[in-house]
């Protein structure tokens, strides 16, 4: 194990999974950096990142969190890599894999491949991801090998966002069959397939010049209504409810904000208080959005073997049964096997 990979945001859903897989693979040595575990660093601090990057062959940016963490983190990463490259005089610094999101495409609808430009958006998350991509593009222009991955909804075992949270909504009768308001595409992708794409990139001896860009959504990933229905039937949250649009909007606009605030307040205090997760207007827009990622490039160039949708669904639900879906922080605390350099 001589080649090292720094994983920024290593305590997140993707970062954690990637670290485990790399460790199990035994070819690349993952070094995890996050605010909470592993190499603790402030991902907005370019100097700190630069020092963490020394000796690394590659860096995977899986930082999630706030708007500032995402956008400024990417900026700091770009600065750090560039500084290293300049210091190395000619030889470039580590290769960069940046995990972006379909959110970058904003409100754009239709079948979208990698030639689609970022779209207009009202969501802070999408704006932050757009800014982060822009920093990566700048880095690529300066000569660093950069690849950006744009996954859809990343699910599979352990997904809080798209498995346990959705399961709760279904069990509470807040989601169900949404009619035309749930007609959007999930663009779901198994977390292992995202890791597979990263591993394929890390294993490639060289990358073509310029910024690489790949959409990641399982080709058979369904529309939201189908996902909700399949999950409700599997959970026994039946009969599946048809949710009227007015009810959905009330839930998101009226119940959403107080739940959000209460959730934040409680998160500072005792662990284990389970408030109903809030629905947000942004989520409602996502459920209705007819935005379908086309991932043929990942299939052909990265040789991805996609995990079928139903496998992802059932693995996610099986993990839910075993209580694996917890807050990523406490999950990480239990995982003591992670390497800390």
């Amino acid at each position: 194990m001589n080649r090292k990979v720094l994983i920024l945001g290593g305590s997140g859903f993707i970062g954690r999974r990637l670290a485990h897989r790399l460790l199990a693979g035994g070819v690349l040595q993952p070094v995890v950096a996050s605010r909470h575990a592993g190499l603790r660093l402030d991902i907005r601090d370019a100097a700190a990142i630069a020092s963490a990057l020394r000796g690394m062959d590659a860096v995977v940016n899986a930082v999630a969190g706030s708007e500032r963490a995402i956008a400024q983190g990417a900026q700091a990463l770009a600065q750090a890599v560039q500084a290293l490259a300049q210091g190395a005089r000619g030889a470039h610094g580590p290769r960069v894999i940046h995990i972006s999101s379909m959110a970058v495409l904003g409100e754009r609808e239709g079948r979208l491949d990698e030639t689609a430009a970022p779209g207009p958006t009202r969501a802070w998350y999408a704006r932050a991801k757009q800014q982060a991509e822009a920093h990566m593009a700048g880095l690529a222009r300066a000569g660093t090998p950069v690849t950006v991955l744009r996954p859809g909804c990343v699910w599979g075992p352990g997904s809080t966002l798209w498995v346990s949270r959705v399961a709760r909504w279904l069990q509470d009768g807040r989601l169900g069959d949404l009619g035309e308001h749930g007609d959007g595409w999930t663009n779901g992708v198994h977390v292992d397939d995202v890791c597979q794409a990263i591993e394929a990139l890390l294993a490639a001896p060289s990358w073509p010049p310029g910024m690489g860009l790949f959409h990641l959504a399982t080709p058979d990933s369904p529309r939201w209504n189908t996902y909700f229905r399949d999950m409700a039937l599997a959970l026994g949250a039946t009969p599946l409810r048809r949710i009227a649009p007015l009810r959905l909007r009330l839930d998101a606009w009226l119940a959403g904000p107080p739940l959000h605030v209460a959730g934040r307040l409680l998160a500072r205090g005792a662990d284990g208080v389970a408030l109903p997760p809030p629905l947000s207007p942004g989520l409602l827009r996502l459920f209705a959005r007819q935005q379908q990622l086309v991932s043929e490039r990942a299939t052909s160039q990265l040789g991805l073997r996609w995990t079928p949708y139903t496998t992802a669904l059932h693995q996610g639900l099986a993990a839910l049964d075993q209580g694996i879906c917890r807050d990523s922080r406490s999950a990480l605390a239990r995982n003591s096997g992670l390497p800390i350099t």
Binding site: D177, G179, E180, L233, P239, R242, I243, A244, A288
Partner: protein, 585 residues
């Protein structure tokens, strides 16, 4: 993309790889499916908005009702001598809606597949038998159920024991191998396809939907073997045209025949009509509330209303005669539902029914027809209805509240009025197949619509065999119910013709006018729904049904449309015209 073409200049020529005429459930499902598979599709809809008055007026026609019900008064024998009988048929602009979504703008949502026996040739059904079998449609029924939001693709289950594993049986303790109670009908929301799939149509790059242009003719190439173009007209009468590689008519059972017959410039008898089959074999269903059924046992042992399946879909059980016994007794297919007694007669003492009767003017034509067509009630009758409502106010209020919550305000609507069963007393709501007959037919009338296209003349007929089959079906039902000790069914066999035909043809089921078959001399389209005589013309919809079965047609219409989409998307496009330019010629 959805555009309004009603203001486009005369002479505009549209080009398309595949042109679908009519944006009802069949047209929308077919166009979106073919577009998703890479075909460049143009979908035309005459209505600019739901129930667009101008487009709707183009539907007006002439029911051949001048001698309607003639022979009925004298009874069945009189008619039997003539071979077939006229009867009332709703005016052709009723039960058909224009605008995106077509007639799904106002449908009831009842979905069930055809039964396997419907596809078989049956010795006792002249002109029966389909060139395809249930196995050809099975995968498309699954997809069709999903499109109609009546059940999911994995398992749209129309069989009670598996679909409703926890629901008690229709009649507790009743078991018969002859009279079955396990067959289900499932209910769509009811889904308005124009609203439900509007966004999909807007974002689909391979699809262009144009509203406000009526198709007024099919122009064949001089050889007669290909459609050269379609004639279109704006509401102001400006003429446009479409040149398309392939054309699908998804215009419903009446308008399909009208278009084919009216397009007689190259083929003198009309397109696809060399053997005079177009417009013939027109079928609807016979439907009526019949008889008095007194079930034994406790009201709690009877589940006459709706059950909710795990997927949230309302389902209802029906009584059917097992296929083996249909064969044995040479019956036409039919179903019966447990229904409430006759609504106009205040003797039922139900506040809910009296309330509905008093409010009948508030119900749309399509659903209130049977109430509105009855003789106006006498003052005394009206008073008795009011008295029913007053006496039964608790039930009436409970019903109203349920109706408002579960129907008016619900996104998935409670399908119909179900009354609390107090005394195990029901009538049977029968829906029955009629045998196809060449004399029951659509022709062109002398008059023309505002765009100059000749109007429809609907000459719907029934056969004595149709009535006789219902009579014998009821006899089987009565016998089996009595044998099993489940109850007693009484009906007046002599009054059956009047009862079954009082309101004429069951509205909205327009079947058989361009029937599917292997022999071009006795059918209009082949097993792939392609017009025998024209290489690039297809028909999607109920016009192709060779027989009617017992089922409401929409689910089968969708299944056939999806099957056709599959065929059109898989087969190499015959001659793909360059798509999408629009030019003024």
């Amino acid at each position: 993309m959805i555009e309004d073409g009603s203001h486009w200049p005369a002479g505009t020529t549209l080009r398309a790889d595949l042109c679908v005429v009519g944006a009802g459930p069949a047209g929308i499902a077919l166009a979106l499916s073919a577009a998703a598979r890479g075909r460049q599709v143009l979908l035309l809809e005459a209505g600019r908005a739901p129930l667009d008055p101008f487009a709707q007026s183009l539907y007006e026609g002439e029911p051949a009702n001048d001698d309607a019900n003639e022979g009925l008064a004298e009874g069945l024998d009189e008619g039997a001598g003539r071979g077939s009988l006229h009867a009332t048929h709703a005016p052709p602009h009723r039960f058909r809606m224009r605008g995106l979504g077509g007639s799904s703008i106002r449908w009831g949502g009842r979905c069930m597949p055809l039964d396997p026996i419907d596809f078989e040739p049956r010795a006792w059904v002249a002109h029966g038998g389909w060139p395809i079998g249930p196995e050809d449609l099975a995968p498309y029924y699954a997809a069709a159920s999903e499109w109609a939001e009546a059940g999911h693709r994995g398992a749209p289950d129309y069989d009670s024991p598996t679909a409703l594993p926890h629901a008690p049986p229709l009649i507790a303790g009743f078991n018969s191998e002859v009279l079955l109670t396990r067959s289900l009908e499932r209910f769509s929301c009811p889904t308005d396809f124009g609203r439900r799939y509007r966004r999909r149509m807007q974002v689909e790059d391979n699809l262009r939907v144009i509203t406000g242009l009526a198709c007024t003719g099919i122009r064949l190439a001089p050889s007669g073997r290909r459609v050269a173009s379609l004639a279109l007209a704006t509401p102001q009468g400006r003429r446009l045209s479409v040149r398309a590689g392939e054309v699908v008519l998804a215009t419903g059972g009446l308008e399909t025949a009208r278009l084919l017959l009216a397009s007689d410039d190259v083929a003198p008898r009309g397109v696809g009509n060399r053997h005079d089959v177009v417009g013939r074999f027109y079928m609807c269903h016979l439907a009526a509330n019949l008889g008095a059924l007194q079930l034994a046992g406790e009201p709690g042992d009877v589940r006459h209303g709706y059950e909710v399946a795990a997927d949230g879909v309302y389902c209802r059980r029906r009584l059917t005669v097992a296929p083996a016994h249909q064969r044995h007794l040479r019956l036409l297919n039919a179903v019966a539902r447990l229904h409430f007694p006759e609504i106009a007669d205040p003797a039922h003492r139900s506040g809910v029914l009296s309330g509905l009767y008093l409010a009948r003017r508030c119900i749309s034509y399509e659903y209130g027809r049977r109430l509105q067509d009855t003789a106006p009630p006498s003052l005394a009758q009206r008073a008795r209805h009011v008295a029913n409502v007053a006496r039964d106010w608790r039930d009436t209020a409970a019903f109203l509240s349920h109706w408002v919550r579960r129907r008016s305000l619900a996104a998935r609507k409670f399908p119909s009025v179900i009354l609390r069963n107090r005394a195990n007393r029901f009538s049977l709501e029968v829906q029955a197949e009629q045998v196809p007959h060449p004399d029951s037919r659509i022709t062109l009338a002398a008059g023309a619509d505002a765009l100059g296209q000749r109007r429809l003349r609907v000459d719907w007929r029934w056969q004595p065999q149709d009535i006789d089959s219902v009579r014998r079906t009821l006899e089987v039902m009565a016998g089996e119910l009595a044998r099993g000790g489940a109850g007693r069914l009484r009906f007046d066999a002599d009054r059956l013709p009047q009862d079954l035909l009082r309101y004429g043809a069951y509205g909205g089921h327009h079947l058989g006018t361009a029937r599917m078959g292997l022999d071009p001399r006795t059918s209009v389209v082949d097993a792939q729904c392609r017009v025998h005589e024209v290489d690039n013309l297809y028909i999607a919809g109920s016009a192709v049904f060779p027989t009617a079965g017992q089922a409401n047609p929409t689910l089968t219409v969708l299944a056939l449309a999806l099957r056709l989409a599959d065929h059109l998307a898989s087969a190499p496009a015959a001659a793909a015209a360059p798509p999408r330019e629009r030019s003024a010629a």
